[in-house]
């Protein structure tokens, strides 16, 4: 459907997009992922004909965007980062203009407008001025605009930025629905979002494509580095003793937490993390040492993202904007981890009960 070949965009000495090539097939939801300033918006702007490329070419449904822009653009609907809305118009007036510009006329135009209004749930605000609408509604007007003319490809640049959680869920649902009929490409720097709605992910860093795969496959990439961490009420040498007696644990680091407890991180070489957790649990229970926390850390898209983009940073030197983002992502990961910890603690608690009774039986 879309072929991007050796796309390069330079602004003076700065290379925003560097030799980017990929192919997008019909009928999937694709996620464009990358830190701020990675070249996502630039790439999307070039794909939609808003920007020229320094080198390379883009074909939409067989039409070159630079040579046959008219035909190529008819196959696409685009929502830029900032929805391009005329504030002094109502959604209906605005959609009418966009529809006419896309070559729709008369009854077809009216039908299409009604269709996209109901698709994006704009019925309540159809005759209010856009300047009076909330950000979520404006975003929907922007999406409605992209849907007019029933394009095969819909390109959305950060469609959920600046929305409240409820609006984000609504927009995501809408994108999910669109994905059934159209090819949807959306960009985001929020990883969980891409993980939730996209069937395939393109990760871009510093204008280069660093990964292009299904989210599950990208996670598998990092499976090798799975770890289990736990906090035990024991001294470091006691823990060493216990872990040495276990065949699954390969390597571990320890940190004294004070107040008699120690934090341990164990790397898994083979097998499932849950197996290791179980054996750790029983081993410590046998020794009568309490486990205060037991967490298995699974690699997720966020780790892949950080790994891929950071290795890139290491190659090219750090930039502040990228750093900021990774810091943000790290925070997100921490939050997620605490959630996992709570869940495991609950499980632990349940297991504890059964375990105790089991020991008594013996």
């Amino acid at each position: 459907m879309i072929t991007v070949e050796h796309l390069t965009k330079r602004y003076g000495d700065f290379t925003a997009v560097n030799n980017l090539s990929f192919e997008i097939e019909e009928g999937h939801v694709y996620g464009f992922l990358g830190p701020n300033g990675a070249g996502k918006s630039t790439t999307m702007n070039i794909m939609t004909g808003c920007l020229s490329a320094t080198e390379g070419r883009v074909r939409i449904g067989g039409y070159d965007i630079f040579e046959e822009p008219d035909k190529a653009k008819r196959l696409m609907g685009y929502l830029p980062e900032q929805p391009p809305l005329y504030m002094n118009e109502t959604p209906v007036e605005y959609l009418k203009f966009v529809g006419e510009a896309k070559g729709l006329k008369g009854r077809e135009l009216a039908e299409q407008i009604e269709k996209v209004i109901s698709q994006t749930k704009l019925e309540d605000v159809r005759n209010r001025l856009i300047s009076k609408l909330s950000k979520g509604y404006r975003q929907r007007v922007g999406i409605a605009q992209a849907l007019l003319g029933n394009p095969k490809v819909i390109i959305l640049d950060e469609p959920t930025v600046g929305l409240d959680p409820l609006q984000i869920i609504e927009i995501r649902d809408l994108i999910g629905q669109l994905g059934q009929e159209h090819t949807v490409i959306l960009s985001s720097h929020i990883l969980s979002e891409v993980q939730a709605i996209c069937e395939k992910v393109l990760i871009i860093a510093k204008g280069k494509l660093v990964a292009f795969d299904k989210p599950e496959n990208l996670e598998k990439l990092l499976m090798a580095s799975n770890t289990v961490s736990f906090i035990a009420e024991a001294k470091t040498d006691e823990i060493d003793e216990i872990l040495k007696g276990m065949w699954v644990a390969a390597d571990w680091q320890m940190k004294d937490m004070g107040n008699g407890s120690t934090c341990v991180e164990v790397q898994i070489e083979q097998g499932e993390a849950s197996n290791l957790c179980r054996s750790i649990f029983f081993a410590f229970a046998k020794e009568g040492k309490a486990l205060l926390e037991l967490t298995s850390k699974k690699a997720n898209l966020e780790d892949v993202f950080i790994e891929l983009t950071e290795s890139d940073i290491a190659e090219r030197g750090l930039t502040e904007s990228v750093l900021e983002v990774t810091e943000m992502e790290e925070k997100e990961i921490k939050e997620q981890k605490t959630v996992e910890k709570i869940i495991i603690k609950e499980e632990e608690y349940k297991m504890d009960g059964t375990e105790e009774s089991g020991v008594e039986d013996k």
């Binding site: 004909g49 020229s52 118009e89 006419e100």
Partner: protein
């Protein structure tokens, strides 16, 4: 193109701009008609138009300032780029909308000579010839305003540039009498103009080499011609200033001559500045 035209028109009539423009134009034509045709009982309506042409200095920039600048500011230019429209269609659609808005008060104005004709002898041919010329001159000024609006995303800035540009054009003939008419003075002035052109090119294309080359080549041409035959430069600057004036050519129509060369000149100016506006919009894709 029709979509852009319709959209622009509805936009202008939703805002005050079109009404302010029309009201100002009609008010000044009214004042002129009152002074010349009613109080002084002159039978020539074209004098009113030549009196009103000064008002263009203010009302054309007011009309044109938002036409492209606002698109940039609201980032709606991205929508225009991504729609299946060419930049030429966008610019011409917008320009035609401006012409329609300009034509509406002019239609009312064109009734005036007929009214006056009820009360005496009026030279209708000269009157309507002048109204036609008045329309085309305004159209040329609107194309200049459109181009200036395409250079910036700030409406105020667009108006702030367009006013002095049109004012300079208005006074260029009177100024021409005061500038040096010696060969040396003209040559120096042309060199300065070449330098300024270079600055403008540098600003528009962000390409220093092109700007330097254009300036240096032009200055070299001026210098070489000056040393070869400096008689060419005798009185050249005032002549150029008079030739470039859009308003001066309009006065020919007022004196009762329907000057086809002036019409061609106006059309050329329109085409040139619309072309520049298209280029200015196209340029945004390349930087």
């Amino acid at each position: 193109m029709i979509a852009v035209l319709k959209h622009e028109l509805s936009n202008y009539f939703h805002s005050l701009t079109a009404y302010i423009f029309g009201a100002f134009l009609l008010a000044f034509v009214g004042i002129g008609a009152m002074i010349y045709n009613i109080q002084q009982a002159v039978a020539n309506f074209e004098y009113v138009l030549s009196f009103v042409s000064l008002v263009f200095v203010v009302i054309i920039p007011i009309l044109t300032m938002r036409v492209i600048a606002e698109e940039r500011k609201q980032k709606t230019d991205q929508l225009l780029y991504s729609l299946p429209l060419t930049t030429t269609q966008v610019v011409i659609g917008k320009y035609l909308a401006l012409l329609v808005i300009y034509l509406i008060p002019l239609c009312l104005v064109s009734v005036y000579p007929l009214i006056f004709a009820q009360y005496g002898e009026v030279y209708l041919l000269t009157s309507y010839g002048s109204i036609a010329a008045f329309f085309i001159m305004g159209a040329a000024l609107i194309s200049i305003g459109t181009f200036i609006s395409s250079l910036t995303e700030n409406q105020g800035f667009a108006a702030g540039i367009a006013i002095p540009v049109i004012l300079l054009n208005y006074y260029s003939v009177s100024l021409a009498e005061h500038v040096s008419s010696t060969a040396f003075g003209s040559a120096i002035a042309l060199c300065v103009l070449s330098g300024l052109l270079g600055v403008v090119i540098r600003f528009l294309t962000k390409n220093e080499n092109v700007a330097y080359v254009v300036s240096i080549v032009l200055i070299a041409v001026v210098c070489i011609t000056y040393f070869m035959d400096n008689a060419v430069f005798e009185g050249l600057l005032p002549k150029i200033m008079t030739k470039l004036s859009l308003f001066e050519r309009f006065y020919t129509f007022v004196s009762g001559v329907f000057d086809m060369t002036a019409i061609v000149y106006y059309l050329t100016v329109i085409a040139f500045f619309l072309f520049l506006s298209v280029q200015s919009l196209e340029k945004r894709r390349y930087n």
